[in-house]
C-alpha cells in the first residue's frame, strides 16, 4: 500500500482585515500519496498560496486536522515545525528568494546551516546538484548576476540539498520566460520520477499539464472532479 504523505481534513482559514472577516479556506480536505505530482489551480485570490503555506507548515489552519508524514502537526511548536520543514520539505517560490549577499553555492547550503553541521560531503553534494541543474559555471555567482531561470534553478538545488520527501512550489515559473519555464518543469518531472512528491500551485494550464494530477480551488474548496 502506498503511504499517504499529506492528509488534510476540513481545513479552514479566515483572514481578518480590520473587522472584516474573509474565510479563504472553507473546509479543504486532501490526501497526497508519496510519489504524487499534484498541481493546484484556481483563480487569483482563491486561496492557493494560503493552502500551500499550511501544507508547508509555514502557517497554521484555524480548524481541521493535518497529518504530515504520519504525524499530527496541529499542536507542534514553532521549533518543532522548523525542524520538520528543514528535514522533510523543500520550497520553491515564485520570487526565488535567494539570499542576495550569498553565492549560488552558499544559497544551496543554507538549509544545512540550521542543522548545525556542514561538512565536505555536503559541499560536494551541493556542487553536484548545481552541476545537475547545469549551473556548474555559476557556482560562485551572486543572485544579481544570474538570470531568472538560473536563480530558480539555484532555488531548486537549495530545496533538494536536504533530500526532502515533499517539494512545494508556488508558481515556480511565474517569473520566468517560457523556455526557462519548460526547463524548470522538466526538472520537476525528472525529480518526481526519481521519487519526490511534488505539490505545485499554478494558474497556467500548460504548466499544470506536467503534473500527474490537477485539483482546482474555488470558493474555498476543491471542485469535485
Amino acid at each position: 500500500m502506498v503511504k499517504k504523505l499529506v492528509i488534510l481534513k476540513n481545513i479552514t482559514k479566515t483572514y481578518y482585515t480590520g473587522k472584516v472577516a474573509y474565510q479563504v479556506l472553507k473546509g479543504i480536505s486532501l490526501e497526497v500519496e508519496e510519489g504524487e505530482f499534484l498541481a493546484i489551480m484556481g483563480a487569483s485570490g482563491s486561496g492557493k498560496s494560503t493552502l500551500l503555506n499550511i501544507i508547508g507548515l509555514l502557517d497554521k489552519p484555524d480548524s481541521g486536522i493535518y497529518i504530515f508524514d504520519g504525524q499530527e502537526v496541529n499542536q507542534l511548536t514553532k521549533k518543532e515545525l522548523a525542524y520538520l520543514r528543514n528535514r522533510k520539505i523543500g520550497f520553491v517560490f515564485q520570487a526565488f528568494y535567494l539570499v542576495p549577499w550569498a553565492t549560488a553555492l552558499e544559497n544551496v547550503l543554507l538549509p544545512l546551516l540550521y542543522r548545525g553541521k556542514i561538512n565536505k560531503e555536503d559541499e560536494k553534494k551541493a556542487v553536484e546538484l548545481l552541476k545537475r541543474l547545469r549551473l556548474e559555471k555559476r557556482i560562485n555567482a551572486k543572485p544579481n548576476e544570474l538570470s531568472g531561470g538560473e536563480q530558480q534553478r539555484v532555488a531548486i538545488a537549495r530545496a533538494l540539498i536536504t533530500n526532502p520527501k515533499l517539494l512545494l512550489a508556488d508558481e515556480p515559473t511565474g517569473n520566468l520566460d517560457s523556455k526557462s519555464s519548460q526547463e524548470v518543469m522538466n526538472i520537476f518531472k525528472e525529480l518526481n520520477e526519481n521519487g519526490i512528491t511534488i505539490i505545485m500551485v499554478t494558474h497556467d494550464p500548460e504548466i499544470a499539464d506536467f503534473a500527474k494530477k490537477i485539483k482546482i480551488i474555488k470558493d474555498g474548496t476543491f471542485i469535485k472532479e
Binding site: 487569483s44 509555514l58 521549533k79 522548523a82 550569498a102 552558499e106 543554507l110 544545512l112 542543522r115
Partner: protein, 404 residues
Amino acid sequence: MKTSFFQFLKDIFKELFSNKINFVFMFLALTISLVTLNTIYSLGLSAKKQVMDYLANLQFGKDAMFIVAGGGRIIGLTTTRRDTLKLEDVEEIKKLDFVKLASPISIGTLEVSYKGVAEKLKVEGVLPNYVFANNWYPKVGRFINEKDLKTMAKVCVVGADIPKKFNIKNILGEKIKIAGQYFKVIGVLESKPFFGHHRWDKRIFIPLTTAQRRVFNKDYIEGVKLLFRKGTDIKIAEKKIKEILRKRHKLFGIEPDDFRIITPELAISIFTKTMRTINVFLLAIALISLTISGVIIMNLMYANIEEKAPVIALRIALGADPRKIIKHYLIMSFFIAIISGIVGWILSIFLMQIISFFTPLKTFFSWKVFIFSLSFATFTSITFTLMPAIRASKIEPAILLKTL
C-alpha cells in the same frame, strides 16, 4: 560543527555589510559615546593615580597612618578637645611591634620675618626622624638633629620656596625671625610637589622641643605620622591604636574619639571626593549619550530587520528556529559592539593625550579602560538589539508565498 558556525558568522557579516550606511551609523552612534565615556573614566583613573603617587611621595603609601588631635569630622571643625594628644601617647604607640617609626608634629601659623619682610607661615616642630617619615631630605645644609633637640636650639630648616620669598641668596647661617625670636637657618629642603592647599615648600621646621617650650608654650602635639612594618594589617593597627588612645585619654562608652586616624585610603577618598562629584555628573551625561546611541542602534536594527524581512522569513522557512534568529542578530550586535568598543578605546587614548597637553592631568594607560569600553559597548548594543531581534524571530514565514 566548525564549518557551520563559520558559515553562520559569514552570513551575519555579509548581511551587516550589505547595508554599509546602516552599519556605519550604528558604529558611529556607539563609538562617539564610548569615546566620551572612556575618556571620563580614564581621567578619573589618572587623577586617582596622581593622588596616590603624591601620597606615596610623602611616604603616605600603604604602610602609613596619620593621627590628628581633635575628634569629630574629617574636614572642618572638631567637636572635641584638641589638646589631649601628648608625646607620652606617642611613646606608648611606639611600643607596638608593628610600628616602625613615629614622627610627632607640633604646628602653628606664625609671623615669620627677615629684614622687614614679614609673612604668616606654617611652622612645624618636629623630630629628626621627620625626614624618613616623609621621604623628604635637605637639598643643602642639614636637618634638625638630636643635639638641637636636647638643647632646644633655635635653629630652623626651611622649605624650598622660603629663600626666594624673603629674597635671600645664601640662606644658610642667616637668622630669620619667627614669632619675635631669631632662628638660624641650618638647611633648605628639596622641593615637594604640592596638591591642593598643602604648600609644602612654604613651611619652616624647628626642633619639637624648641617649638613646645619656647614658641608655642604647649605640651600637646597636633599630630603624629606613623610608618608600619611591611605587611601590617592597617585595619588591625588602626583598632589597636584607637584602643590605646581611648584608654589613655579616659574615653569610655559612647564618648567620641578626641583624635582622628587618617589612613591613606581615607586620604585618597577625601582627595577624590570632589573628583567623584564631577565624575558622577559627567557619567550621567555619558550614560544619557549611551542610551541615545542605544536607541539609534535599536531603530537602525528595526530598519535592517524590516529591510531583510524576506531573508529572515526564508531562514525560518528553511528551518531556523526562533532562537537561532535571535542569536543571529545578537551576534551581529555583539560584533558592532566589539568594533565600536575597540575603536572607541583607541580614540579615547588619543583624546587623553590631547587633554593632558592642556591640563595638569597625565596620560594614563590601563587595560581597565579597555575592559570598561568593551563591556559598555556590549551591554548597550545587546540590550538595545534584543527587542528588534525578538521581533525578527516572530516574522511569519508565510509572507514568502504572498503575491508580490
